[in-house]
Symmetry: D2
Subunit: 169 residues, 4 copies
């Protein structure tokens, strides 16, 4: 039985449509809805809804909070992996920080997000979430971005805005 | 065989996700994609992509253009109905104009749109398009909004912003 | 406010996947699930789950039961339309019977079904249900098949197996 | 750049709806359609459509053909992983055979399938395909079933019919 905690912070993946303004906003986490479409055997999932932010608006304090939250989760007995749902624009800033400050990792810490919101028909959200959850079982301890079929290990991961994906520098 | 022309003007129904900015925009018509999910027997459809505008940005000139376009379509031989895809915010302004200026209608002219873009999983776009296409076969000549299970005939149709639907005054 | 009763009898539209045998079966009505994807203003819906049969297996007794059920619904105060969800293979047998035996109709009685189950991604079920619900508001009293963009009035409607749709003889 | 070959054999995952008979059948591979919904960076995919069979109907000759096909693919220059799409009922028979006869593997050979066809709305096919493709990048050489969030290595994998998933004996 694997035990995974998902820390949600917002980002495009979790944006929902606001009918009143006709715009996409981070209002609440919809990860539970995403998970309802997946079958995960021998898995115990915890969801920790930490914040609902476009990652362009994340502050240093927000990143400190993410770091301390992940550290706390890593201290829980039996934990086998941590997932952080995060906006893609500054995902690598957070990833580098987690990589630098989390010493002696025993399990993988995986960041993922999406280029198109889960609420859109043609979204990469469920693919990335599926890959990231699977990755917690098979990757060596470390901090990663998992997305679009790949696991990229920190340090040295960046967003390629033109290709709208992640890559190693 | 019925012969219907769909005049597209943009609006929420046709908004698409712009990955670069993370916003929803009117860029091109996606009515052909919507139609690919429907089975319509004994129907000949023409698509006339007129403009791609949020209806809040429509000018008097735009409405003149819609009027003259619909008038032109109504003059085509064998036409049995006209559909106008339109943003909901000023749909009723356009509807009142068409109602006032199109005298002696021989077929129904139907406006429809959506509260949520077709590209979103939980959209009312396909329902409204399905109803509007069906309505062209069964409604008496006149100008209507067709949406959310109802046909509302002009004059006297307004958008109820709170309920996010249309109603008679 | 319109008041519609949906009488469900099974058919392809309502077939569900049986994981144990890997086949599609009529086990329970899923019309409530279908309706959850539609927005219907000013509508009061009743669902009457009558039977769950492939229409190839319907007996004379089944058709008597459908007739008496529809007759009962038509006697309810304020009813504005009746919908019968039915397998397509013998839908026209039932339609002819309803047409012959329901004298003096005050509202439309509409039969609909699907060529592919609602549970399949590429299904005509939701389109036909959307059209049939809309049709109850706009058709004259009579017995009809509503499907694939058209309303066909009994008597004289048949299934065209090759084209997999309905038509007038 | 990873280079993966997908060998398709049929099974529930690839069953399609036959409108004429109203049943689910293995007629052609739909893996290309499934892949169109995924974004896979730095990946070169080959599809080898080998057969279209319910795995209950697979013969010893069929399994010999699968073995020789996989062996051939493994001999291609630059190959980094092989995926076999297979019905779940006898997937483990094929897996044990591949495990026993493919000596000295340099890359992972992964079998996957689905409990519900991809064509159904509520299917596990895309999840399993997503996981299996991701797994080719991260698993050690060996023969596996990848499904429902897990990688299970042969020998010793069986289908649990009651739970409708796979597990180690």
């Amino acid at each position: 039985m694997r035990k995974i905690t998902i820390v949600t912070t917002g980002g495009t993946l979790e944006k929902v449509y606001d009918d009143a303004t006709g715009t996409l906003v981070n209002r609440h986490s919809n990860v539970a809805h995403m998970l309802s479409g997946l079958r995960l055997e021998e898995t115990r999932l915890c969801i920790h809804e930490l914040m609902n932010k476009d990652s362009l608006h994340m502050t240093d304090e927000d990143r400190e909070l993410i770091l301390s939250t992940v550290r706390g989760v890593l201290g829980e007995p039996g934990i086998t992996g941590v997932l952080v749902l995060h906006g893609t624009d500054t995902m690598c800033v957070t990833g580098e920080k987690l990589c630098a400050e989390l010493a002696g990792l025993a399990v993988p810490v995986i960041l993922t997000g999406a280029m198109r919101p889960f609420e859109m028909k043609d979204s990469d959200a469920l693919q990335n979430l599926t890959e990231a959850l699977f990755a917690t079982s098979v990757l060596a301890p470390g901090v990663y971005v998992v997305s679009h079929g790949r696991a990229l290990r920190f340090p040295g991961v960046v967003k390629n805005r033109e290709k709208r994906t992640f890559e190693h520098v």
